[in-house]
């Protein structure tokens, strides 16, 4: 089942907060499916981070109490993450990980309760808005992919100035769309501003996204579109030698 056709050459870190619950899943996707090395980073551990990519996994850090990500942002490991990211290290925040990055100010904007106020767990379609980021280098421009979402709070919000900025600087990576790629209100599951499902910081080395790529890395689980995110990361880290998918 492990697709490790090659010897692992890259090391991913998966940050573990009290209440994280997609930590094992991310670890599994990296090790067993992607075939690279993965290690957990304990939130209270303040030692410097030496990884090729760091994943902030989904879940309910600190029970999502007060606001999702509000308490997690103070972890000692987060201080190290700032340094790591400032040095250009790749960071992927998924769902709660994205929320923590927003709270920490490492990504612009904020997240509100879903417009429908209910938890949503389902597959959604995303349009890849930028395929030359380190996280999407193997996607075709405008490719439509199917990845599950799973959250109470995924309703992305930013003020107008921020929206203009992230748009013009090409920071928006994924938008919610329908199966035909139409970005519309009907295809917006949670009320996110401009259907934003994932975006990066200005430097482009930190991606936060609500959908869970680790959940669709294998056919058996309903699709492999998520694997392309991880493969894009390794591809960029290895200097972009792999060819773009189909």
């Amino acid at each position: 089942m492990s697709s490790s056709k090659h010897k692992p050459s890259l090391k991913f870190g998966v940050m573990l907060f009290p209440g994280s619950n997609c930590d094992y899943d991310c670890h599994y996707a990296v090790r067993e499916v992607l075939g690279e090395e993965a290690e957990f980073i304990w939130h209270a551990d303040g030692s410097p981070l030496r990884y090729d990519c760091i994943i902030l996994p989904g879940g309910f850090s600190y029970g999502d109490y007060l606001r999702p990500g509000a308490i997690g942002k103070f972890a000692p490991a987060m201080e190290r993450l700032r340094e790591y990211a400032a040095g250009g290290g790749l960071v992927l925040g998924i769902c709660n990980g994205f929320q923590i990055l927003l709270e920490a100010g490492l990504l612009p904007g904020a997240i509100l309760r879903n417009q429908g106020l209910k938890f949503i767990c389902q597959d959604v379609y995303l349009r890849v808005e930028k395929s030359d980021s380190p996280f999407t280098s193997l996607f075709r421009p405008g490719q439509i992919v199917r990845i599950p979402i799973n959250h109470y709070e995924g309703n992305y919000l930013a003020d107008e100035e921020t929206l203009n900025k992230v748009t013009s600087k090409g920071q928006i990576i994924f938008r919610y769309c329908d199966s035909q790629g139409r970005v519309s209100e009907e295809a917006n599951p949670n009320g996110s501003l401009a259907n934003i499902a994932g975006l990066t910081n200005e430097q482009g080395n930190i991606l936060g996204m609500m959908p869970h790529p680790e959940r669709c890395c294998e056919k058996e689980l309903g699709g492999e579109d998520g694997l392309l995110v991880f493969r894009s990361i390794t591809n960029s880290l290895k200097g972009g030698r792999e060819a773009v998918a189909g």
Partner: protein, 747 residues
Amino acid sequence: MPANQAKDSLLELALSHGLSRQEYRQIQPLLKREPNQVEVGIFSAMWSEHCSYKSSRLHLKKLPSRGERVIYGPGENAGVVAIDDNLALAFKMESHNHPSSIEPFQGAATGVGGIIRDIFTMGARPIALLNSLCFGPLEEARNRYLLSQVVAGIAWYGNCMGIPTVGGETRFAQCYRDNCLVNVFCLGLVEQGKIFTARAGGVDNPVIYVGSATGRDGIHGATMASQEFDEGADQLRPTVQVGDPFTEKLLLEACLEAMGTGCLVGIQDMGAAGLTCSSVEMADRGGMGIELDLSRVPVRERGMDPYELMLSESQERMLLVARQGSEEEIKKVFEKWGLPAVVVGKVTPDGNLRVMKGDQELASIPTPLLTSQAPVYDRSAKAPAYLDEVRCLDLDCLAEPKDYSQCLLSLLASPAIASKGWIFRQYDHMVGLNTVIRPGADAALLRVKGTAKGIALTVDGNGRFCYLDPRTGSGLTVCEAARNLACVGARPLALTDCLNFGNPEKPEVMWQFSQAIEGMRAACQALGVPVVSGNVSFYNETSGQGIYPTPTVAMVGLMQERSRYLTCWFKNEGDVIVLLGTTGLDIGGSEYLNIIHGRVQGTPPPLDLGLETGVILTCLEAVEQGLINSAHDCSDGGLAVALAECCLGPDGQRYGAKIALAEEMRLDGLLFGESSARIVVSLEGENLSPLQSIAKTHKVPVKVIGEVTGNRLRLGRWIDLRVEEMEQVYTQSLEARLATEKGERGR
């Protein structure tokens, strides 16, 4: 206070706990002295129906609980069943009916929390949840409120824990209006060498309290679950407990880590009757005593007295017995997860539960008095009078529908049948990366990482059938569960149950109960499925009005080669559609009779265990040999609804079908009757004859009834509907009904 006045107030206390006068009088001779207040509290909790199973114990013994693969059956926190030489599954189901009708969100949430603790107490990592829910009709605002809050509560707790809720069932009937049913199931995976049990052992070993601090939550909870509600139920409200899934997640991780240290001797969750029940059970199972010092128990509120400390049902707490000298190591593990771990007592050789506060002895009771010597009743049973009346259904007075297409649409719109997407979209059903078949199919399928195996899960109940005939009804329930597993291709391993009934002191209820056990026993024996754990919930009554007798069954199945799994949806244009089993004139107790005619009458379909077994085996062998492309059993709504559901694949993968049936009986019976032991399969024409020969060896009738084709469902001359139209009704009805939800609590 004068002596006899004090005695009176102790009697009052016992009565307020739900003990009878007579039971109270038994305490003194057993204890050979007068009990004090704390002791009366302890006796009352342990002798409550909920903890003692005093009305059900004699009957539960009749259920088969052994099997080659069974490692632990009833008597532990969860049943444990082997799936190979190394791995095992731990699972159990539990009811949280009473707390949920008082505060649906927290009641359901803490129910989930409780069952999860039962599983990780065994050393297993929880990997799946199921839930079975029954409510009053959705026309009433209060019932819509209950449903949405219960679902939200389950979602909140399960999602936060990172345990996927992969299935469930949801039913509606007037009788559940004031007594909704919330049954939750959890399954965990464990290596056989790492199973833990709740036994105290080793004299002087420390007893360690871990998890949340104790507050005044849920005092009387165990007894609340053992009493009928009356209109004054509001007074029971202060006992409502609030869940904290975040703390439970930490507790789960910390406990599993602590188990890995090799320092633990035994571990038990604190559920009903909190510290009392957990320490008594641990001591009793280990044949030891336990001494507790209440002054060391972490508390959340000031001024809690010993009685409150012993009976509090604060959530997210566990009791451990560890090896002497390992205290620091254990503490370190819990500290890492931000949880207190406090030595609150020790194991003693004398078999007593001894409660101290510093040097002062507050209670001392030999544990057998609380367990094996607790009252057991062989309560009298009598068939209820209502049966004669409801069982006679005069079909001649039942007008057949004029428009069968419309009739099918009405059934697809019925909340019992319509898609439960609105519910399971709110549950994280994917976390853990194991969910191969998501909710919405006959059974969920999980993979077992590192193996080719799959685990199938289903939960089923049918209160209406059981109301009309509890014995047949509960047998049919077990069969339906096994059939659901067979439809995905999994062989039944074992089951767990929740037996939801009314007041057992009523002979009619006791009759229903004993009949249901009989039916379950017979079906389990015929299918070779042991009952490895379960739970009884009595007193589901309000102001004398009881629920339908509702045994709920969660069955776990195993697939050696999961890649062969099937779903219920048609896969290819041109496939032949075949019905396994036979259709009788079985309108009694059907959803059709209920929805279209507004009647709950007649007798449920006959239980033919031979045919059930044959149909299940035929389906399984056909799956294993790769002969069929889809399989779906007929249940609520009968053949017509089953066929409609086969057309409505997920993600808009729709197929039509053309079906021809001989008009061998009343059309409503033919189309909507609920004869059991039937599975609709679809396959390529060339596989028909191998399927027929398998069926022949199991003496199962096989009938080719049609073909997968086009985008309409055409059933004889009677039904002709666009699949898209059916899909709209099917997928949107529940949501549409709940959209009228005004958020009102409706009390």
